[in-house]
């Protein structure tokens, strides 16, 4: 992620005031410019963190974009808890991007506003509880003044202040008086966990009513007055260009208003502004724009990667792994351990490129005016959207407003604001307010794909079967390949996390990386490198166990050893607890009945992994028929994400992560031929349907008092290896090359 370094003001970052209707309003210290311009206007519901109205409604602003991770429900729960609000009286409003540029350095007005890396909850935990707590302190003081008692004597519960004698005052009745009080100068104490009444209790998605009636507003639903719809034809070849084009027929399509060239990044420029050179057709409605695009005649140049293909990349990896690569981590002496080993086990795995494929294809409304611009869209990184619009228009960032709609999925795709840049370029070129709409083919062919790679794992074992040495050798196409500020020797950083299991648990531990040369754009795909590395490490553990006749669970527990805490320097740190990983593994193993005798054709697989501060494990039981047909019998997962904030939301994320992991491992791959992506719709990129997926995914949530981590990414990494281990247990076929597709059938039919 490349979010600007923005600081949150930690002291006195709130101001209180009276709303037009006589309520209490807690706003960040830096009022948005739009509010300051017209003080007489009623308070804009956006730009406010917390409002308590005389009718007892509590309106909480949600800073992070909602992309399906449930943060619009869970983050306000944290504020409501400290406020002692009645959750049934809470409504939640999405905040726009809030960055204050008036000081020496830009500041987040409402706290960080991105959806990535499972950070919203941990950030909110650190920053936003104080907002609720300060509002509660105002309520107590207002009630104390009314009753003539000490504030400390006033208790609060469910949106009411309570007098020791039993009298009660609803927050709404106190709101106006509270607004006249000064905020506490210092942070106020937060609640002990034993008093939680909102946090830790299941709460349904706050927008559910709007979603089931079709009223919820996504980017695609933005209908601004005068806006035209734009659709683009983009060069399908990586770094290719326009050779020639003829737009006569396109312009003749009824409803088409304009055809404009949208230049791609210049050679050598980072792919941060926009992705590919293209031609935009601007029309009165979507259908006219699509027909106009179909009528365009374009010849593309093939660019410098015309020889690239999936087969050529596989050959490149095999060649790279035949040599020694860049040693990026080297603890102990692996060579000596290998020399001394009683047994060496090794295996190679392949992880394909995959696409994010959010169900809502990329789209954005942008209106570039003379001295300002408006952006409304489904964004994961709204600050980045503001920055790219600034880059391509020159309009200063404070004059660019950014609103986030709900997003029909993100999975990391909408962290990159290429589609925002395109809409801005088209609006600038035409002078029109533009809603840019991508099609599914645009989405699958112009993504920032999860990096592909070949992995070789080597384990050295002593005579007792203990793992003494471990090497993970990876040839991959780094997602940092076009970051101007990343040196070649640092490209491995997002591909291998040196502190991941089994670092420090094996005395001789070595990581080696090879850079694959490729022109396909790469980026962050939900739980980035964890999806690749947990697949290979957790699959390989089973291979090591079985090669030495050990029980796969026993081997994992032996390697984790006693409960210890290690430093973890990558995202999700600063600490990794072996005992918390062991606990989730034991929970799923026990739930699924690990070790019980199974009929022929059935098998159970396990996997456990630490992802971005959360500990997750899967246990999967499958049945594989003699003809290679796979059926799920039971899927159990466990998560320890610290203090559970919304158990219903955590369960949803784990279920969804599991399905994402299984669907991707079973069927999904982006392939390359002639320097372009071959897949262009869901026929070639078939997400799993309900019939192909387990009928239920059981979720065990570990109760914990630790500070919460996020949970949007923890459900994926262990799903695929648990499945592959289960498949092997069921039928003896080891899948090392993803996706599975028809490999089971091929292997079993061949064997008979």
């Amino acid at each position: 992620m490349s979010a600007p370094a923005l600081a949150v003001s930690r002291r006195a970052f709130l101001q209180s005031s009276l709303t037009a209707s006589g309520g209490l309003l807690l706003t960040p210290m830096f009022a948005p410019a739009a509010l300051a311009q017209d003080a007489a206007a009623p308070p804009n519901p956006l730009g406010i963190n917390l409002r308590i109205e005389p009718d007892n409604r509590v309106i909480i602003g949600s800073p992070s974009p909602e992309i399906g991770q449930g943060v619009k429900t869970s983050v306000p729960m944290i504020i409501a808890e400290e406020l002692d609000a009645d959750w049934s009286q809470v409504t939640v409003e999405q905040l726009p991007l809030g960055i204050d540029f008036s000081g020496a350095a830009p500041r987040w007005m409402y706290g960080p506003q991105g959806a990535g890396g499972s950070t919203s909850i941990p950030d909110a935990w650190a920053e936003l509880r104080q907002i609720g707590a300060q509002a509660r302190s105002l309520m107590r003081r207002a009630a104390a003044a009314r009753w003539g008692i000490a504030p400390d004597a006033v208790a609060t519960r469910d949106g009411q202040a309570l007098h020791p004698d039993g009298r009660r005052l609803a927050y709404g009745e106190l709101a106006a008086e509270a607004a006249a009080l000064a905020l506490p100068p210092d942070p106020v104490p937060l609640k002990p966990r034993s008093e939680y009444r909102v946090i830790g209790r299941p709460r349904r998605v706050v927008d559910a009513g709007d979603i089931v009636t079709g009223r919820a507003r996504y980017g695609i639903d933005v209908q601004e007055p005068g806006a035209c719809t734009a659709v683009m034809a983009r060069c399908p070849y990586f770094d290719g260009d326009i050779a020639s084009y003829d737009d006569t027929a396109a312009r003749a399509v009824p409803g088409v208003r304009a055809v404009v060239v949208v230049p791609g990044p210049k050679p050598g420029e980072p792919l941060t502004a926009n992705l590919a050179t293209g031609i935009a057709v601007v029309a009165d409605d979507t259908w006219s724009a699509l027909k106009g695009r179909e009528a365009l005649k374009v010849e593309w140049t093939r660019g410098p990667w015309a020889a690239e293909s999936s087969a050529a990349l596989d050959a490149q990896c095999a060649e790279l792994l035949s040599r020694t690569g860049q040693v990026v981590h080297d603890a102990g002496d692996f060579a000596a351990a290998r020399e001394a080993a009683a047994r060496v086990v090794s295996a190679r795995y392949r992880v394909p490129f995959v696409s994010h494929a959010p169900l809502e294809p990329e789209n954005c409304f942008v209106h570039v005016m003379a001295d300002r611009a408006r952006v409304i869209g489904p964004l994961q990184q709204p600050a980045g959207a503001q920055r790219v619009v600034h880059l391509v228009t020159g309009i200063p960032r404070p004059a660019i407003s950014v609103e986030m709609t709900r997003s029909g999925g993100g999975f990391g795709r909408k962290l990159t604001n290429d589609f925002v840049a395109e809409a801005a370029l088209i609006s600038k070129a035409t002078g029109l307010p533009i809603k840019l709409q991508w099609t599914r083919a645009d989405d699958l062919q112009h993504d920032f794909y999860r990096p592909f790679g070949h992995h070789e794992l080597v384990a050295a074992l002593d005579a007792a079967g203990s793992v003494t040495g471990w090497t993970h050798r990876l040839a991959s196409a780094s997602k940092y390949y076009r970051r101007a500020n990343v040196k070649p020797e640092d490209l491995w950083g997002p591909e291998l996390y040196p502190d991941d299991f089994p670092a420090r648990l094996v005395p001789h531990y070595r990581l080696e990386w090879h850079a694959v040369t490729s022109g396909i754009p790469r980026g962050s795909w939900r739980a980035p490198a964890h999806t690749a590395n947990a697949f290979v490490v957790q699959s390989f553990l089973d291979e090591v166990a079985l090669a030495t006749g050990r029980d796969p669970l026993a081997l994992r527990l032996a390697m984790l050893g006693d409960d210890r805490e290690f430093d973890y320097a990558q995202h999700g740190g600063p600490k990794f607890h072996t005992g918390r990983l062991r606990a989730v593994l034991e929970r799923v193993a026990s739930a699924i009945g690990w070790g019980r005798k199974l009929p022929r054709g059935r098998g159970i697989g396990l996997a456990a992994h630490f992802t971005f501060g959360g500990y997750a494990a899967h246990a999967i039981e499958v049945e594989v028929s003699p003809r290679g047909e796979l059926a799920f019998r039971r899927v159990v997962c466990a998560i320890d994400c610290g203090q559970p904030v919304n158990p219903l939301g955590i369960e949803a994320q784990m279920q969804g992560g599991t399905i994402d992991g299984l669907s991707t491992a079973l069927n999904l791959e982006i392939t390359i031929q002639d320097g372009r992506v071959r897949e262009s719709n869901f026929d070639g990129y078939p997400l799993a349907t309900m019939a192909q997926m387990p009928r239920d995914v059981e979720v065990i949530i570990v109760d914990s008092a630790e500070a919460p981590s996020g949970c949007g990414e923890m459900g994926i990494p262990t799903a695929a290896p648990a499945l592959m281990n289960a498949i092997h247990a069921a039928c003896g076929v080891r899948i090392r090359n993803l996706p599975v597709r028809d490999q089971l059938r091929a292997a079993l039919v061949r064997a008979t």
Binding site: E66, I67, G68, G70, R204, V205, D207, A208, G209, I211, V212, T213, G214, R215, A216, Y218, I220, D221, Q223, T229, P254, D285, T286, W287, K291, A357, P358, L359, E360, P361, R406, S407, G408, G409, G410, F411, Q437, T439, R440, L648, A652, Q655, G656, G657, T658, I659, D660, S663, N681, F682, D683, L687, T689, M690, A691, M693, P694, R695, D696, V697
Partner: protein, 151 residues
């Protein structure tokens, strides 16, 4: 040529390009944006609506094929309060991003109208994608709606 049909009980006339898929008519012309675009090829089901009671993928259904038809969208499902399927979706907390759910609800409604007591295999016949992976809760919501609708 003018094409006449109804959307959620309201008479509609369309004199434009008859090739226009119903999806874009609904979204851009009727301004009913609850029906979503996902693939444009009838593969993902995000655009599912009811046409004369049957679940259809509106992204591949040209308006010219609709003469005399009755179209029902998510906006018309619970015109007089929430439909049992919508209530079940809320109760089971199905939605994550929510983008596919209008299509899922329409597909489930069509299924329940045909089979009031659907088996898990009947539910398997719904091939709408949920990219967030809410399938387990969709199953629970369909079962809940079936119980409600029998009352």
């Amino acid at each position: 040529m003018v094409i006449r049909f109804t959307v959620n009980g309201v008479e509609r006339e369309f004199a434009g390009d008859g090739e226009m898929p119903l999806l874009w008519y609904l979204r851009d012309h009727a301004r009913l944006t609850g029906t979503k675009y996902g693939c444009g090829a009838g593969l993902c089901g995000a655009c599912t609506v009811l046409v004369d009671g049957e679940a259809r993928r509106s992204c591949v259904l040209p308006v010219s094929a609709l003469a005399g038809s009755a179209v029902r969208t998510i906006e018309g499902l619970g015109a007089s309060g929430l439909h049992a399927v919508q209530r079940a979706w809320i109760e089971e907390d199905v939605a994550q991003c929510g983008y596919c759910q209008a299509g899922q609800i329409m597909a489930a409604t069509a299924l329940l109208e045909r089979r009031p007591d659907p088996s898990p295999e009947d539910v398997d016949a719904i091939t709408n994608y949920c990219r967030c992976g809410t399938y387990a809760r969709i199953r629970k919501a369909i079962a809940r709606a079936a119980r409600e609708m029998k009352k």
